[in-house]
Structure formats: C-alpha cells, structure tokens
C-alpha cells in the first residue's frame, strides 16, 4: 500500500516539482505553530499560570476551533509530504515516535473529557484548577513539544525522495515572474 501511495499522481507531482515540497513544509510549520500556540494558551490556563481571569470554558470556545482548523491543515500537508516517500518515512524511528505521540495526545484529551471536564461548572472561573486538569495540561505540553522535536528530526534522518540538485533554469522563481536577468 505504501508503494502504491508513493506512485500516485499526487505523490509524483510533488516529487517532480521544485516548489511544492518546500511550500507544503512551510504550510505545515504555520499549521503546527497555530496548533501548539493555541493549545499552550489553554494548557497554561489549566495550570493556573496565565489567563486565570477568564473562564476555562470561554477560553476553550475561543481557542479550540482554531486548533482543530490548524490541525486539519497540518495533517493534510503532513499526509501529502508522507506520500512522496511513504516507505522511507514509515520505517523512520522518529516518524513512528511522532505518530505514537499524536495518539497519546488524543488519549490525553480523552482523559480530560472523562475527568476534569465533567465537573467544569464547579471550577470554570476559579484560578486554581483540579489536579487532574493540571496533570493533563502538563502531559499535553510535554507531548506536543515532543511532536515538534520528533517532526524536526525526521527531516534530518529520512532521506528526501528527490532533492533537486539545482534549480532547473526554466522553472525558478524569477522566470516564473518573467523578470529580465
């Protein structure tokens, strides 16, 4: 299946393009920055470190739609990058570690839903939160930093499918704009 994936037209067109992979990577970084940036705001509230003057439920309403939208963008660009060299990424230790961490992040969210979230009405406005919320928030911060580190290390340990040795003279950016040399 992985071989089929990297032979698909989408995977081939990304590999053959000078720009697509770097652009996908850039969108991936924007997405993950917004995922971690918004999650960190909520986690710091749950830890009682910041935004303690706002109800946790209001914070969640303000933040989580952006978190999920950014996560969708990150997952889509990540999937496209994976498709270009699926076999290599699949066997990369850091890619696997990152996937496991993402699953753990999901389970950690589930724990929050099943524990502290159930009694949120009682501590929504309080600056001190239940210890279960603090534990979930700490684990969340650790996991997401781990996801970022593992993701960055993939780039250093997995060989890219095709690295254009140099810009093909007919497709680089200045020619794209049609500017004189």
């Amino acid at each position: 299946m992985l071989e089929w994936l990297q032979r698909t037209a989408v995977a081939v067109s990304i590999r053959d393009s000078l720009y697509t992979f770097p652009v996908l990577e850039s969108i991936h970084v924007v997405g993950l920055a917004l995922v971690f940036g918004t999650i960190a705001i909520l986690d710091l509230r749950l830890l009682g470190v910041a935004s303690t003057d706002r109800p946790v439920s209001r914070l969640m309403a303000d933040l989580l739609k952006w978190t999920w939208a950014a996560f969708a963008v990150t997952a889509l660009t990540g999937g496209l990058m994976f498709s270009t060299n699926a076999l290599v990424y699949f066997h990369n230790t850091f890619f696997r570690a990152k996937m496991i961490l993402l699953v753990l992040a999901g389970l950690n969210m589930l724990v929050f839903e099943l524990t502290a979230r159930k009694t949120i009405d009682r501590w929504d406005r309080a600056s001190t939160t239940p210890s279960s919320a603090k534990v979930v928030a700490t684990i969340s911060l650790v996991i997401w930093i781990g996801v970022i580190v593992a993701g960055r290390v993939i780039g250093f340990t997995a060989t890219r499918a095709t690295v254009p040795a140099e810009a093909a003279p007919d497709v680089n950016f200045e020619d794209l704009l049609g500017l004189p040399k």
Binding site: L32, G37, T38, A50, I145, A167, N172, F173, E174
Partner: protein, 173 residues
C-alpha cells in the same frame, strides 16, 4: 558576506556547533519552532481580539497585556536561537536570499508589534472607544498576521534557496 560567513564558520563557537551538529542543529531548530508557535498563538489572539472574534468580554488592553509579554519574550527566544543557527551554519544562512528577506519582514513585524503595544498604553481610552473599530486597524491586524506567515515560509525556504534562481547569492558561490 560570503567572506564574513567563512570567517564566522572558523570561530570556536561555530566549530563547536558544527562538531555537534547531529544533535545541536535539530535541538536549536526545535526550540526555534516552539518560539514560532508562541509568537503565532499570541499574534493570533491579539488580532482576533482586534477583529472581535475572540477574547471579546475583555478589553483590547487586557488582551494585549495577556499576550504582549509572551510575544516579546518569544521574539527574544527566536533571536537567540536564530543567532545560534547563524553561528552554527553561517554560509547556509547568510548567503541566502530567503534569510535576508525574512530579516526585513521580521523587522517590520516586530516594529508593528512594539509600536502597537506602545500606542495602546499611551492612548488606552481612545483605543477602547474608537481606534479598535477602525477598518484600517482591522486591516493592519490581518496584514501583520500575513507578514508572520511569510516569515515562516521564508524561514523554511532558507533550506531551499535555489528556488529563487539567480536572486539567490548561493547560486553564485
């Protein structure tokens, strides 16, 4: 610039990072990305507050007080880790079109952030009453967010400077 980069690459701190590049470069870049995330989270919240899409039961001043210090602090963290990357890989960073365009946009983004926080502190009443509702201020909020997104793109493109063709000084080395 190439000569300077070569000299920098021969200095002891640079040699140290080069000798330990297997872990040092990914580690520095990871901290840099965490800093980017804190900047983007803070900028998003301040901009959403200006647009009236989040933090609405608090004043703009309160929202700025909450995120301004995180934004400024994260920018210092990015400067520190960014400097380490320049010291560790001087030619890759300094002899690249993406890097210098990025620095120009970072200067614009940081200048907007600092002057916005200053203006807010100085004219708090006006901001709450009228300024924050002006379309030009809302447009500036969107524009600033786009500048930071471009900064992220250019940061990643340092690794792919050849996409700029002959604009990339690396092509002439």
């Amino acid at each position: 610039m190439h000569q300077f980069a070569l000299w920098l690459a021969s200095t002891p701190p640079s040699v140290f990072i080069q000798e330990h590049n297997a872990w040092a470069i990914p580690a520095i870049q990871s901290v840099h990305i965490v800093g980017i995330a804190l900047v983007m989270g803070s900028v998003l919240m301040i901009d959403l507050r200006i647009l009236g899409l989040a933090w609405t039961e608090q004043s703009l001043q309160q929202t700025s007080n909450r995120f301004g210090p995180w934004l400024t602090g994260s920018l210092w963290l990015l400067l520190a880790t960014g400097l380490l990357m320049v010291v560790g890989e001087p030619v890759r960073e300094l002899v690249s079109f993406s890097f210098w365009l990025k620095m120009a946009l970072v200067a614009i983004g940081a200048a907007v952030a600092v002057s916005f926080q200053r203006a807010l502190r100085r004219h708090e009443q006006q901001w709450g009453a009228t300024l924050a509702h002006r379309p030009s201020i809302k447009a500036l909020a969107v524009l600033t967010f786009l500048v930071w997104i471009c900064v992220i793109f250019l940061g990643r493109l340092i690794a792919y400077d050849h996409v700029w063709g002959s604009w990339s000084p690396a092509q002439r080395l």
